[in-house]
């Protein structure tokens, strides 16, 4: 993997660990509009699944900043794994170097 790609990965991990716990607690654009226009409560408690890490707070950790950092790193690595897996699935099996060489030799 190229150096720049490693740097981007390290940056992602650092952001998840050290920046995400200090994210602004203010509502985002849609939440703010829902609040101002009086339809926020219609989207509360309507979730149809049970999320393992709701609202980016890892359960069972008392310190909320630590719970968010743990949720962040879990999510970042999970996204890396799933997106990489999807890329491999979409592209089909990655050919080994030997196979590429054989293909080149047989022309």
């Amino acid at each position: 993997m190229r150096k720049e790609v490693w740097i981007l990965l390290i940056l992602a991990v650092l952001i998840a660990l050290f920046l995400s716990p200090f994210a602004s607690p203010f509502p985002d654009g849609l939440e703010r509009v829902a609040e101002d226009k009086g339809f926020l409560e219609k989207g509360e408690g309507k979730e149809i699944i049970h999320s393992p890490i709701p609202d980016y707070v890892f359960p069972g950790i008392a310190n909320e900043r630590v719970a968010t950092a743990v949720a962040g790193i879990v999510g970042t690595l999970l996204t890396l794994a799933v997106a990489y897996g999807i890329a491999v699935l979409i592209k089909g099996r990655v050919a080994s170097k030997q196979e590429i060489q054989e293909r080149q030799e047989t022309g």
């Binding site: 981007l8 992602a12 952001i15 309507k46 996204t79 997106a83 979409i90």
Partner: protein
Amino acid sequence: MHIPDGLLDAKTWGTAWVLGGAALAYGAAKTRERLQERQIPFMGVMAAFIFAAQMVNFPIAGGTSGHLLGAVLAAVLLGPWTASIIMATILALQAFVFLDGGVTALGANILNMAVIAPFAGYWTYRLIQRIWNNRTGTLVATFIAAWFSVVLAAGACAFELAFSGMVPLRVVLPAMLGWHVLIGIGEAVITTVVVGYLTQVRADLVYETAKI
């Protein structure tokens, strides 16, 4: 602007699932055709970076915050089709694991942030970059495209809420656009900084535009 469950009616989220799903299926086929095998790790890392960056809400004004979407970042570096797949992957994980965005509303969130945002952004980027074809032009194009992608996705979100009968369009559209015109500036700054860094060290990391 992750829509939770409960805000869209069945006809709206159902339609959005069909449109979003169809775009993703086509996006997967295009990615198979165009993504190079050596770019596979980059695709994974780009998704991880966008996920992490999306967690960091930045305050904008009046007690409201925004966060990066990352659709144009992915589209400029890996092409719009691959960006769609990356964004949809992130949105699905956010909905199922982190209770961020609903499961019924996932189709609409995919349509807004994984289809409309990367494509509107990418076409804007290409249009400007074609006229202003140097490094400065590329960065200006990235900045404007990133801003526009957020504003347009917010507009689409407003239409879906209105179409569901949740809130009148004349009420929700100006409100959504008003906040996202500001949030889009944050999107534009972050996207341009990251694209600027990556293109400085490796110009070839930018998506081969000739292949679109």
